[in-house]
Each structure stands twice: as C-alpha cells, then as structure tokens.
C-alpha cells in the first residue's frame, strides 16, 4: 500500500476501521465480530479496531452489532499513513 494520503482508494480495498460502541462488550465476542481488537475506554464505551476486507464486510459487521442491540457511537476509517495519537487503547 504505497498510495499517498488523500488519494482516492477503490472501495473494495482492505482498510482499518475503528468503531465505538456504547457499553463494555466482553472480548469473548471478538470472534463473532470479525476478530476485531477490543479496547475499553474510561467513558463506558468499547472501541473495536481492526482491518475489514471491504465495504461488504463492514456492513456485515454493522449488522451483527445491530443485532446485539449495541448503540453505535462512531465509525471511523483509519488511513494507514496518518499518525495516530498514542494512547493506551492499543492495537
């Protein structure tokens, strides 16, 4: 992946996503949720981070989250060459 920041990517490329959910979800659910990494934030939310193959995989994951009744707070696509601020919600 050598594309420069800002260049449009084909929507079928694998991307890193970060999804924040209301409530603490036990990491036991990781397998059900595409093997995403779980991080618990102090404000009572859970952040899922991980790669998704394409948009279809993203929508599949969102459907599964919907079916658990977990409110979604935000969805963010993470550009791989943008520096993320370090914090202790690690990968």
């Amino acid at each position: 992946m050598t594309a420069t920041a800002g260049q449009a990517r084909c929507c079928s490329d694998s991307q890193q996503y970060e999804i924040r959910l209301q409530g603490h979800l036990d990491s036991r659910w990781a397998e059900r949720l595409e093997g995403m990494a779980f991080a618990f934030d102090g404000d009572g939310t859970t952040t899922l981070t991980g790669p998704l193959a394409d948009q279809a995989a993203l929508h599949g994951l969102l459907t599964r989250i919907r079916d658990l009744g977990l409110p979604i707070i935000s969805i963010r696509r993470i550009d791989s060459d943008v520096q993320r601020p370090t914090d202790n919600s690690g990968q």
């Binding site: 409530g23 603490h24 979800l25 036990d26 036991r28 397998e31 079916d67 658990l68």
Partner: protein, 910 residues
C-alpha cells in the same frame, strides 16, 4: 430448464410456523399508548415498527392482534426468515398469509407465481391488488423481521405494492432496520405511521408495572428508576433483570452491582440468569442454542440426553425467552438476543462441542427428511463431506421445485475439489447453473461428471451418495448437454444429445422423458422437419401429462396446435386444442394461463376457416381467463388483427399488428409467423408497396438465398412483394425472381411436411403464371392448391388475397376446376352488404373508378394500339390520349402498360 409446477410451495411444512401469529400473554404489560397508535396506523398505508432486537416489537404487535381478533377484525401474519430471499417464495408466502385470513384472495396470483414462466412481479401484484381493492372488509398484513430480506427485487416489489396499495389493504412491517422503500415519500404524504425505539421503550411507569406487577417483584421507586435508567427502558434487558431478581434474597445488592458497571447489558444479565439455573437447565440452554427452532425430540438428540420436553415447559412457564411457534407446543425458538448470548457463551466455554452438537442436529433433521436444516447444520459442523452428501440427495428435488438458487447456495459452502469428485452433485449443479444463465459454468460441471462416467474411467476417489441418482446420471448429463446446445443455437447438437437422453431414460421417468422429447421436438422444429417435430412434441406432452405437469402439458398442446396448422392439418389442430382445453380446465386456476393461449390458438384457426363468429367467441373465452404477460398479450393481438382483416378492417388490423410488435416477447419455439412479415403482408393488402420494398431492403432477403426453415415465412413474404412489384411496375425481373424462389420454396416445404406453406406457394405460383399470361399454368397451380386445401376447409388463405384471387377462381371455375369448394369460395367474395364478410381490399378495388373515356382508351391500349393511332381513332389530340392514359394508370396504381393491362384484367374491366 422445464420446471414442474406441481409441488405447491404453500404445502411446505414450515409454512404453518411462518403464518403462526405470536400469542399475547395476559401477564404482559398492557401498552394502550402503542396499540392505539397501531389502530390509528391503519389509516396510513404503512405502519413501520422499527427498532433493534429486544424492544418488544413482536410483543406489542401480538397484543394488538389479540385486541383486533377479539373485535372480529383478523390480521394476517407472516414471519420472515433468511431463506425467503427469493421473489417467488416471498410473494407466495405473502399471498398464503393473506389467504389464512381471506381464503378467496390471491388464487390467480398464486397460480402465476408457480407457473413455469411466471409473468413479471408487478403484473402478479397488480392482479393481487385489484382483488384486495374489492375486499368487503380491510385486510391488515404484518410482515415480521423484514430486515432479513436482502434481495433488491423484493424491495422493489414491496415499493410497487405500497405505491398502489388500495384502501382495503394495510401493511405493517416490523424490522430491526428501516426497510429500503421510499419512506420519506410516504412520510411526506402522511401515508406512514412509525413506532420506533423511543416509542417502544418502557416508560418509568411501564417499567414499574412490569417489574412489580407482571414479574411480581417488590421494588422501591428508586430501584425501579435505577433499573430503568441503566437499561434505558430496553425491554429485553428489563426482562432479564427481572429474571435475575426473582426469588433473590439480595435484590439491593444485585441492583447496585448491575447499575454500577458498564458491561453490555445482555451479556451481563444472561450470565446472571444462567447462573441461577439448575445445572441441567443451564447445560440445556447452552447446547440447544445452536438450533433455530426447538422441538423436544430434536433437543433430546442434540443434548444426547432425555427430558427435553419437561425442560421446555419449565422454560416457557418461567418466561425464559422461549417463543412458541404453534399452538400445540411442539416447536419453539429462543428470543434472538438470548440465543446470541447463549451461543457466544457456548463458543467460549465449550468450543470443541460445537461440531458435535451441529452434527447431532444434522443427523436428526436428515432422519426427519428436513434436508435444508440438515444441510445447514452439517455445514455449521464443518462436516463438509456429510453436507455434500446431503446436498446431493436433495439436488434433484431442488431442481424439480425450481429452486436452482438454493442448490447453488448450498454448493457454495462445499469445497470445489469435493464437488468435482461427486458426479451426481456436479450434474445437478450443472443444471442449476443453466437455470441462472451460467452456460460456461454448466458445461464445466457436466464435463466433470462425464469424466467419471466414461467406460474406462478410473473411479478411484469418486464419491456417490445417491446411488439411484447415479444410475440415471448419463441421461441427465445428455439432457444437460442438449440444453446447452439449444442455448448456443446448435440444432444438430441438440438433436444428438436429446436423442441420446431419450435412449438412456427409463420408461417411467415421465418428467425427464417429457423434457427430453420436448427439447428434441423443438430442435427438429427449428430444422424444419415438422412431422418428426410433431411426433416428439406429442410424446413430450403425453409424458408431461403422466407426470402430472399440467402447465407443461398445456403449453405443449398450444405449440402442437401451431405445428399442426403449419403442417396444414386444421381439423387435427382443432382436436388437439380441444383436448388441451379439457385437461387445462379440469385443473382450474392453476392452468388458466395456458388455457387462454389455447383459446387464442382456436380463434386463429377459426379465422382460417372463415368462421369469424367462432373466432370472436374464442377470443372472448380467452379474455375471461385473463390475458397475462409475457407472451399471451401479443398472441392475442395477432389473433384480433386477423379477425379484423377478415372483416375487412385493414387499417385497424395494422394498428394491432404494430401494437403486438411493441409488446412482443421472444419464446423458445420458432416463430412460424413473425410479426415483421405479417406487417409487410398487411401493407401489401393496403397497397403500401414502397414500405414493403423498404422492408425487403432492410432485411437483406433475396430470392436466391439459401433456404432454411425458420425464415420460410419471410421468404414467402418476399415472393409476395416481388409479385406485387410486378403488378405495379411491370418489372419482369421481379416476376422471374418470384418464380424461381417459389419453385425452390415448394421443394423445401414438401420435404419438411409444411402443408400450409405448400398451399400458399401453389397459390402464389398461380398468380405468377397469371401475371405471365400463362392461364393454363395458373389453372394447374390453383387446382393443386384447392385440392390440398379443400379437405381441411382452408378459406381465408384464399379470401385474404382479394380480387386477384377472385379472378383466378372465376377462371378456374369456368374451366371446370375446383368444384363446389371453388364455387363456395367465390361466393364469399361478395361485396359489402352482399353476404358473408369478404376481404374488401382497397388496393384491388378502385378508390376512384375509371371514366368511360379512360376505359375506352385502356381497351384500345390492351388491344395493342399505339397512342397516335388511338388519337386518330377517337378524333382527339395525342396530348389528350396521353393525359387519359396517365389518369387511368394513376387510378389503377400502375406505371406501365403491361401492368395496367394485367391490373385491369384482374379487376374485370377488360
């Protein structure tokens, strides 16, 4: 692929549970606020209940349903699941659900949905909606769990339904997500009522009523508030919390622990609930969570223990998220959220068990003959060999019930190397791929199967589960190859492979024999050998009848009629239609579409016999049954056009031909009378020769084309155009070309047994001879034509030719040819008001009569006199002679002396 329509989807054993509306429990909290909104919602087209799982959508609908039932206002219910993602299946269930409440609605729609060639969804829905509009009391239909539907075609159908929803039909959709239909538009027009999560949440008062009332707890107002706040009124959570607190000594401790953490509520609470269950129940819950539906014997099998019935009853009594699927307490399911958590716990605690549990479920379902579930569980168990075996056993049935999509879905889960090692599975998969239009894929799979079947094949590593299917495999492969050839337009290949299939098929494999015979007959038809085609198609129809495939048998009868008419066997065609109608009408609505086509075929036949009243009657019968797309409408218009022509309304007939052309849909069988050529013939009748000539140029047809069967009608039309050209312009080359073409066409028609064409050709040859001045030749040809035509009663083939034919017949009769038959035909050429309808052809009658002077000069021209001599003879100027001649030619529609003479003779002027 031919489909059998005889296994109605509605007989599916699962249907009962899909139509079973949930029973409302008296112990539940009453929510008049919501049921009143649902009542008001019946004034809008659509009521949408949209919220994530666990918000009590189904419960509130159940409460509403119970209230309406108590007031004699029944509501139709349909529970959707993910295997309903097929338009025909979906709409069949919708109609079935409506029928549970209104038995008389939707019969025609159901019949269409299950027909071999279903019309477009919108057509079927249109008919259903018309019936709904005529209901005496409004019908409410609830679709539960609509979020499982993913197919765009179904969403489009639903949008169409909503667009055209009559007042007597109301829709309620319950879903976890807003359905992709134009909600904004409905909202803007006030046609949408919504009940969303915010509406469904328990209010603090409702929460109190639930916890302290329904669940029998005694919580303080503060406790209730704390719980209500933590769960935000999410009903499932409150239910779980209540279950966790029942009989617990330290309720306060529970509440404080629960409200003091942020854990995913359902996870936390289910854990609490599980912990409080006896070990046996807990184990039961976890292990049976893999099942989509629960049944005591099934649970016994999965847990490998007994006592499931007692446990299920306990769970139901304890309100532990067990939902009954019928009134007899045979089948249940877990509430989705509950099951999700149980499954995740099972996955965490006993990951190794999953495969075993699914395997046991698969075995149980297989023993019960419920293959779809057996396959699903085998795949979940990752026991792909077993899954593949089950798919193989189910493959033939899936094809017969026209669900290639299901077969393809199942095969997707099986590794390719495994499929390729299974010839039976490969073969039916190959057939299924054809159903989806993937010919290349189909060929590859048939090739895979064929490799194992070769005489010298090394069958090492081959896997066969269904031995009977394996024994019959060579015929299935041959038939599959025949279809591929047909799709590729390879007639010779189709003949070869379908013959082979027939050799291989057993006598009692009626459905398959029917399919093979019909296909071979079709290929022979394209080849132009109508007699052999007829024989095979006849066998095909008989086989379909024996197999009980009424729809296919009726379609067969319709095409048989076409073939017989083309062979010139009119009375046999009539018998065939009548026999087909008797069979179709015995089966009522299911065969109505086919029967309409048969009436149209009869009407066309009546036209040929000049029984115009009979034709009109038959068209009326067809209208009563319904003229349903895709193909019946244009056939109907063609028959109507023919009837109009018989009555002399050429302009009206032409308009109908143009409309038929607009709505034409190609079928699999050859088009014996293509609309384009029919239009040209109509144009010729109206004297529009230039347009006809333009068609010839555009079509690239030529008199010296190599002749083959399907374009025969066009070549005959070309011959007519050439003759018409000679008549108008005196162009002898056209006449010679027509002559040559007709000679060759005649031989070809003879070889192929195309009797009707044989009559037409001789008739046209008679015209050619007449135009060339060969009266004896004309008599010879017309005599032959009449001889062939008389036994079958052909009439309009001659009458439609108009005055040139009258002229020929007069000549023939006065030469003692044709007998009574010719005299009767002649009598039919009466003028307007003088008896039975004739072909009043403006082109062969004169729009403007010749003046006496013009006629006089014409006679002199015919006598061979030159213009100057005529001027001298009549004592007028040469200029005047030329003027009269020009006028006469104009009225006769010719431009040339010779043509003028012929035309005048035809008109009986000379």
């Amino acid at each position: 692929m031919e489909r059998s329509a005889e296994e109605p989807l509605a007989a599916n054993p699962l249907l009962a549970s899909k139509l079973y509306a949930p029973r409302w429990r008296a112990a539940s909290v009453l929510r008049p606020r919501l049921t009143q909104r649902l009542d008001r919602g019946t004034e809008s087209k659509l009521t949408l209940v949209s919220a994530p799982p666990g918000f009590g959508k189904t419960t509130v609908l159940a409460e509403w349903l119970a209230a309406r039932a108590a007031e004699q206002q029944p509501v139709a219910w349909l529970s959707l699941d993910s295997s309903d993602n097929n338009p025909a299946t979906f709409w069949t269930y919708v109609v079935s659900a409506m029928q549970a409440v209104q038995p008389n609605i939707g019969r025609a729609a159901l019949a269409m949905l299950q027909a071999p060639q279903p019309p477009a969804t919108e057509t079927i829905l249109g008919i259903l909606l018309n019936e709904a509009a005529a209901l005496s009391s409004p019908l409410v239909l609830i679709l539960d769990d609509y979020h499982v539907i993913e197919i765009v075609a179904i969403h489009d159908g639903l949008a169409f339904l909503l667009d055209h929803l009559p007042d007597q039909l109301r829709l309620v959709i319950a879903s976890r997500a807003d359905p992709p239909v134009p909600l904004a538009r409905l909202r803007a027009r006030g046609e949408l009522t919504e009940i969303r999560a915010a509406d469904l949440r328990f209010s603090p008062a409702e929460a109190a009523a639930f916890l302290n009332g329904a669940m029998g707890l005694s919580l303080s107002a503060d406790d209730v508030a704390a719980l209500e706040s933590r769960t935000e009124g999410w009903i499932a959570a409150l239910q779980l919390a209540a279950l966790s607190m029942q009989g617990r000594a330290d309720v306060a401790g529970f509440i404080s622990a629960f409200t003091g953490n942020d854990r995913y509520i359902v996870d936390y609470l289910v854990e609490e609930v599980l912990q409080r269950q006896p070990a046996q129940v807990r184990s039961f819950l976890l292990r049976t969570s893999i099942l989509e539906r629960l049944h005591a014997p099934l649970c016994d099998a999965v847990t490998a223990e007994g006592g499931s019935r007692a446990i299920l009853e306990t769970l139901e009594r304890g309100n532990l998220f067990l939902v009954p699927l019928d009134d007899r307490r045979q089948w249940y399911r877990y509430h989705h959220l509950f099951a999700d958590v149980l499954r995740s716990r099972l996955g965490e605690e006993q990951p190794g068990q999953l495969s075993t549990l699914h395997g046991r479920a698969s075995s149980w379902f297989a023993a019960e003959g419920q293959s779809a579930s057996a396959i699903r569980h085998a795949i979940a168990a990752n026991d792909l060999a077993r899954a593949a075996g089950l798919v193989e056993s189910e493959a033939q049935m899936a094809m017969r019930h026209h669900r290639p999509d299901r077969l393809i879905e199942w095969v997707k889960a099986i590794p390719d190397e495994l499929v390729r090692a299974m010839p039976v599975l490969s073969t039916y998969y190959g057939h299924a791929l054809q159903g989806m239009g993937d010919m290349e894929g189909s060929k590859a799979r048939l090739d895979d199967a064929a490799r194992w079947l070769k005489a010298d094949a090394d069958q090492q590593g081959m896997i066969v589960v269904d031995d009977d299917a394996f024994a019959s495999l060579p015929s299935r492969v041959a038939l599959g190859r025949a279809y591929l050839c047909m799709a590729a337009g390879d007639v010779a290949g189709t003949v070869q492979h379908s013959r082979r299939a027939l050799e291989l098929l057993a006598e009692d494999e009626h459905h398959w024999r029917g399919a093979a015979s019909a296909l071979l007959g079709l290929a022979l038809w394209f080849d132009g050998d109508l007699e052999s085609a007829q024989a095979l198609r006849g066998q095909g129809g008989a086989s379909f009848e024996q197999a009980g495939d009424i729809n296919l048998a009726t379609i067969s009868a319709y095409h048989d009629g076409d073939l017989l008419k083309a062979r010139g066997r009119l009375s046999e065609a009539r018998t065939r239609y009548e026999r087909g109608l008797r069979l179709a009408l015995q089966h009522g609505e299911r065969a109505a579409q086919g029967a309409a086509n048969l009436y149209i075929g009869m009407a066309d036949l009546c036209c040929e016999l000049n029984d115009l009243d009979g034709a009109a009657r038959n068209l009326g019968h067809a209208e009563e049954l319904g003229i349903i797309p895709p193909r019946t409408p244009y056939r109907y218009l063609l028959a109507r056009a023919r009837l109009l022509q018989g009555h002399g309304d050429l302009a009206g007939a032409f308009e109908l031909l143009e409309e038929a052309e607009r709505i034409y849909v190609r079928g699999a069988v050859p088009d014996t009378r293509p609309i384009g050529a029919l239009k040209v013939r109509a144009q010729l009748m109206q004297g529009r020769l230039d347009e006809a000539l333009a068609w010839v140029r555009a079509s690239g047809l030529s008199f010296d084309d190599e002749l083959s069967y399907p374009p025969e009608y066009q070549h005959l039309t070309l011959a007519r155009v050439l003759i018409a050209r000679f008549r108008r312009d005196g162009d002898t080359r056209s006449l010679a070309e027509a002559d040559a073409l007709l000679t060759r066409l005649r031989d070809a028609a003879e070889t192929g047994g195309r009797g009707a064409a044989g009559i037409e050709i001789r008739m046209l040859q008679a015209f050619v001879a007449r135009c060339a001045g060969d009266l004896a030749g004309a008599n010879q040809q017309i005599s032959e034509a009449l001889t062939l035509a008389e036994p079958e009663g052909f009439a309009r083939i001659f009458l439609d030719e108009g005055l040139p034919m009258r002229d020929l017949l007069r000549q023939a009769v006065s030469a003692g040819i044709g007998g009574d038959y010719a005299r009767r035909l002649l009598a039919s050429f009466a003028g307007p008001g003088e008896g039975p309808p004739t072909a009043a052809s403006p082109v062969t009658g004169l729009a403007e009569a010749l003046t006496a002077r013009e006629l006089e000069i014409l006679r002199l021209v015919a006598g061979g006199m030159q213009n100057q001599a005529i001027a001298d003879h009549l004592v007028i100027s040469l200029f005047t002679v030329k003027r009269h001649i020009a006028n006469a030619y104009g009225k006769l529609g010719v431009g040339h002396r010779t043509a003028a003479i012929v035309r005048a003779q035809e008109l009986g002027l000379l």
